[in-house]
Symmetry: D4
Subunit: 208 residues, 8 copies
């Protein structure tokens, strides 16, 4: 239970049996289970094995809570995405935060090229504890969001784009060079990491 | 007189004598002269040679108009910069447009991390024929500007930044991937090219 | 209707239902519809849904005009390609300009290694308002075209090539470094962006 | 006062007069002043101008508090460095946190190649609110630290190294790929950003 | 028999007939045979051809010993892996060392983010002649191992990871920049090379 | 005398004494001497030592023929440059060919953006045995030249340019991707290599 | 008939009908036909259409000579390959030279790691007019060959390798930096270009 | 005394006082001292402080043995360099091995482009325990050496070269892709690392 949370299963490249075994062990220990990068094929076999299992197809996450668990969600994280294609990443963020017991507001389709869209939604994210922003292509959204809020902004570059987007490298470089001082960055498509960090910060704030 | 404009002198690596000779020849032909990338050392020798010479130290440009020339400026280009360090590039844009007889509005210090600054200046650039945006670091400003205007936006990445800005490559990639459809890009620090293209478009519009 | 044109649908990664819904909404608003990056599979389902639909297989674009629309085309854009393999990109340019109501001349197969081919066609493009050039491999064509015309040249690097072409990066770098001052650049394979910018400039010129 | 803190001066490339003017204005507004990337030459002129000025030569920061200011420091951030050469960056972190009124513990010379050094100092950082780790060369230290603590770890790659360190790119990539889920990353040598983010999180936690 | 060992077959891209012929020739010469990068399809045909054949599916190696061979294994190499996904590479290391007659200890799942795991296994590798470490993502493990042992450490970056791992480049750069002086590096996923070098060193030591 | 020519001295990083010694030894053997990358400082000391020495300041070459040598030049190589800044490289080509006893035609300032300049000089290079083209920035000239001639074209990318020229990498990639089949490439700024290869081919042709 | 040779068909991405049409036209003009990058699928349809057609499966080339043509081959090119996997490229070289009427000696499997293999074959290539060397991985072979011969060496990097071979970039860079002065380079996997250049040089030599 | 050897001082960026203090402490402990990357300026101050100090100007190393120390050198490492410019790196290798008490044979100027030079010296290195090869530019020498010997070959890429050598990256990639199975690689210009690893292996062999 490093950081106060149980182990998270990275399902990519693992057999269904391997994943099943870890899920079963964690449930026995009374833990709430999160597996990421679970393919539709893996999920088709795993979901029937656990009555409580919830598969998020877009975010490729599998969650299984021990029976009878219920948790009052705390804090507030806003998850903002520039375009539709960034949604798989933001769903991974959302599920990670749900598993950590954190309240989430999802704000979609507020890319920088429609500059009136983001401020019109300001009320929904300006009081968040942390904001997570997922954006591909030029990756400009975190800088703009960083200008509207006083809290930490966790930027997730996505691999969305073509040509000179170089599989997310353009967005990654852009975010690292953000002129907003409150922006920090995780790996390309690393929705889990962004969510986990946001959840840790929320827990630090609300555990006080 | 390709494109209807005389030759422009690229002074980098040329001797003072070489530049002087081209300036003199162009003046004799009755042309207005523009030299770019003129160092302070070159200028110190060149300026006294031509009574009409105007040296822009920040933009490193030298202009020499034939005596008695005067030209009514046409059109309207807005030149927008994100931060103070991008000014050498925007001065090169301004001088190039001045030489082409185009009216220019300079808008400084409206970086994306202060998101209220740009819209507060909208009146100054929304009716421009073309907007030029110079930005370094994450290079996000052209995308945001592109969302506010309906005209072509010419983005100039600058080499301003450190670390992962990679001498302007981060800003260049960001601009090429702009999700605003009206953004086109020139080389890093290529203020001359951005100005020249903007000037050509203005001439096409107002020559009609 | 940013820039005076309705929204364009980027179909890549969208479901047929999602695309259909946006097409229907735009038609209801009386708009002429353009969708780009539409796969043959998406088109096979979408075309029968809209009697006016026109699918360009090479350019992967879908256009649907409201019934009874007809528009006199204005201006003149020349679209020049170096080789046969660059045609998917130039078709995307052509359809974008058609949708914007701009007249287009297509000039094929005038790569720089056959240096007599381009000047023999000069009459067809020297009076254009804007020239778009799509080229892969070494991406040298825009520089040469830029030397023949006085108007803006929009260069589109294509991902055509192998080995050190690096998926279009070689052509992109080449175009950014063009020694012709009237060349500006968009993303690799970004036929839509090149067409859109050319269309905006034409509209600026002929709207006067 | 974005994020509840006044503007920070980025002195690189600014004239002494420009920096002096901003410092004076901020002091007049009763703000505590921080300037970063202040060269020894700039400092030699600025320090005598303001009696309260404190210049950190290693970290290249200048701080000026309004007379009579005193602030009880809150929270706890541990700043860990791998080697001696990373100290300029960690000093920038320390000064930024000092300016934000946050308590700091500095832990030096605990590089991963001496694996007993870090755990022997665990008592000093395991209860920190946030840990900042600055490391160059292979940039492995944040991953190891991330394994010892349950709080957010902010990793700053430094440009320390030679050959394949590529000016900090090797450390940057390493940190982005950290297998520790609680590690997030800022730009190469961006001590200010790391400190600012750590300070924001501390303020969120202790402002509750 | 360069280096005292027979030729090793690199099966990638070879036909089954080609591989079969080399195996047969080597067996006739009384040599112990190792083929690497043997696909499951190739193996399905090759294994029935040679009664002694042993196929390692994970490591994609095929070994065939001449009948009646038996060899007392010498020396001691520890093969350490950070995560489950690095196992194909470590299996290639193991098989190469087995073929060279070297004793191997496999140590799994001791990634740096669980910093207590590696020292708890120290007894198993501290007296090894050589340690091979296979790690993907940030590639930090060899540096940490290098701090615990006094023998040469051969680091194999693996292509495990996503986004900024760049197919193993991040791990490769990290390992080349290791601050542990006893770490040397081979190509990405080059389990064969790491094993071969380790085997050569063991032979040098124990042949004395 | 590999390739029928004596050793060439690469003076970069050698002491004056070291270069002097090799020159003296070669002269004693009756060889004609060529040294490349000779700095002005090295030349200032070396030239007085050898009465026959000829230093080319632009090309940074030093030639010393044994007394009484005279050689009828054979063959014909055209050396074409795009811009003034590429002349240091073309001078190195010229000197190398002179040393090899090959006739050279220099053709300057025929960059692709002035497309009428190159064909107007066709008579001077169309019958050459080999053409060498030195070009920086976008490096497009070799492709165009390759279209005009039927002989081998040796392309030398130069480090001339700024921003995305990446110190000659843009020109290098462009040339490697040339769509003219008769273009081959040497290293950036490698005037010596281009000249040497051209000289070898001429010798093969005229030695027959 | 640029360079004295008819057009060569680049079949990649062309329809069978398109290729067939060009082949038929060239045959009618009495030309010998070469098509490169012809897939097995394209060949299966094209070969039955032309009785004289010869398809080289490894080299992916199709040759069709007009009936009754016969040509005495001239000159001598040696084509040297490091490993078995480089053969597709060397077959493309061989077919190109055959089509140009040049005699070819193929020398296989003389990689630098078996340093006795190359000199043992010296008699076969030391008197060649030109040597072509195809090598992947570290691309060291052209430098070594360049040391044995006095003629031009055309190096073709191949995309053979894994990990840090970066799809042929490692071999390409290696060859560009060859310390042998008689080595020149073409694009990765560009067997056609290497053969064409070698053929042009042979024709220059033997046409005298 | 990790690995059985005392700490080595990396002098780059340290003050003379800092280096002096560590040297003095190590001498007091009776250790033999090695400092690397010691500039001529640092050495000018340090050498007079320690009567036993030996400064190697080319290799930039400083060694200080406690009075009365003498050590019989063991084993045999051959250090091979391709060209004169690689000598600073090979001197760092030599000094490191001298400090470790290992016998060294230096073999200079046996670059691959003179292929008879290396085999003519075979007697001097074929029985070595380990061979270290330092080479810049194309970095081909380790592969060739690897083919002549049966022992481990440690390759050190050097930053010698220009243009596409990319400061040693070309040589580094080449060496990582060596087709000789007994070649392993360290960082660019990392003479110390190569020497240290060679010394460790020798100690393992001869300590038995
Ligand atoms: N700052 C600049 N950046 C890029 N191109 C320039 C610049 N200044 C001038 N030029 C171009 O360089 C040409 C002259 O180049 P040159 O013949 O080398 O003096 C002019 O006609 C311009 O098109
Ligand atoms: N060392 C630094 N690195 C990155 N950003 C900084 C640094 N120092 C100050 N800043 C930011 O730069 C902004 C001021 O930039 P400027 O307007 O160019 O002075 C401040 O508000 C900070 O957010
Ligand atoms: N997985 C591998 N990676 C790198 N080199 C290998 C591998 N397997 C075999 N080799 C080397 O490849 C040589 C045979 O190559 P080839 O002649 O192409 O079959 C062997 O002698 C080994 O040195
Ligand atoms: N400018 C140059 N670029 C590349 N190679 C060169 C150059 N000048 C001389 N050389 C080569 O360097 C070899 C001498 O290298 P070195 O032994 O280091 O002096 C000569 O035989 C040439 O092949
Ligand atoms: Mg985006
Ligand atoms: Mg900016
Ligand atoms: Mg092309
Ligand atoms: Mg470090
Ligand atoms: Mg790992
Ligand atoms: Mg050029
Ligand atoms: Mg090879
Ligand atoms: Mg070398």
């Amino acid at each position: 239970r490093r950081c106060g949370f149980p182990e998270v299963i990275y399902a990519e490249g693992k057999t269904v049996e391997a994943v099943q075994a870890i899920v079963a062990r964690l449930l026995e220990q009374g833990e709430r289970v999160l597996a990421t990068r679970v393919s539709a094929e893996q999920a088709a076999e795993l979901v029937p094995m656990f009555p409580q299992a919830q598969y998020n197809q877009l975010g490729r996450t599998l969650r299984v809570d021990p029976e009878g668990t219920s948790q009052a969600a705390i804090g507030h994280v806003a998850v903002i995405t520039a375009g539709t294609s960034d949604r798989p990443v933001s769903e991974e963020v959302r599920e990670t935060l749900g598993w950590m017991g954190v309240q989430v507001t999802m704000i979609y389709d507020v890319g920088v090229a429609g500059p009136h869209r983001l401020p019109s939604r300001l009320a929904e994210f300006e009081s968040a504890d942390v904001v997570v922003v997922a954006a591909g292509m030029e990756g400009a959204l975190p800088s703009v969001v960083g200008g509207y809020v006083g809290c930490p902004v966790i930027a997730v570059p996505t691999s969305v784009g073509y040509g000179a987007s170089l599989g997310g490298i353009a967005a990654l470089l852009s975010m690292l060079n953000s002129c907003a001082a409150n922006v920090t960055v995780v790996n390309i498509d690393a929705g889990f990491k962004a969510g986990y960090l946001a959840g840790l910060i929320v827990n630090k704030i609300h555990a006080k």
